[in-house]
Amino acid sequence: IGEIRRYLRDNNSVRVSRSMRDTAYKAMQVKERFINEHLREPKIEEIAELMGIRREDVVLALEAIVEPLSLQEPVYS
């Protein structure tokens, strides 16, 4: 039973890919709200503070919603 429970739990765990996308969307929302309030772009540090996460983790999350890689499709054509 412990095995099965562990199996279920493992398979229900949120994948990083999904969680980073969520964080990235949240970061973009925070950014938009900041621009509306302060009429300027927030620094990444300011986004991090508002979200209560670390600066580098904002950077990592933003990668999750980056445009398709130039490797797969030429983005600029």
Binding site: I44, I47, E56, V59, E63, S70, L71, Y76
Partner: protein, 148 residues
């Protein structure tokens, strides 16, 4: 010009490493406290240079890509992306917008043009059969670095 901080990164030219390299470099420069857009410019330029190593320098094989990133006083940054791949015979021609050595039209030939428009300066040193070094420079107009 005094170097305040520095990092070096080496990885095989697998396409799965392109995103990782980009995150690494941007996480490093995030200590300059840039905006999302400032960092996106650097990321895009790095991405193009790394992609070139993967698809051109090591066309039919896997080789190592070397990145060195530095932060200088006054928010100046410099990124060297180096490979030991095939090299470029005519650098001036390679850097022309729309020039690509790839047949079939799947490449736009705009990689160098993108690097030049997103960074302050781009220099390319290359030797056929030896490899290529692309140096990207820019000044980040940040509030300055956290001391430690």
């Amino acid at each position: 010009m005094k170097c305040i901080n520095e990092m070096s990164l080496t990885f095989p030219s697998k396409s799965s490493n392109e995103g990782f390299a980009r995150v690494s470099v941007s996480a490093f420069f995030s200590q300059l406290d840039p905006t999302v857009d400032e960092l996106a410019d650097v990321k895009t330029a790095v991405s193009e240079a790394v992609t070139n190593c993967i698809i051109h320098a090591y066309k039919d094989r896997i080789g190592l890509v070397y990145i060195n990133a530095r932060i200088f006083e006054g928010g100046k940054i410099r990124i060297k992306i180096r490979d030991k791949g095939c090299g470029i015979a005519d650098v001036a021609q390679a850097m022309e917008p729309m020039f690509t050595s790839c047949q079939g039209g799947e490449r736009a030939g705009l990689g160098f043009a993108v690097m030049q428009s997103f960074m302050d300066k781009v220099t390319v040193i290359s030797r056929v059969g030896k490899g290529t070094t692309v140096t990207l420079s820019k000044t980040i107009k940040s509030r300055g670095m956290a001391d430690d």
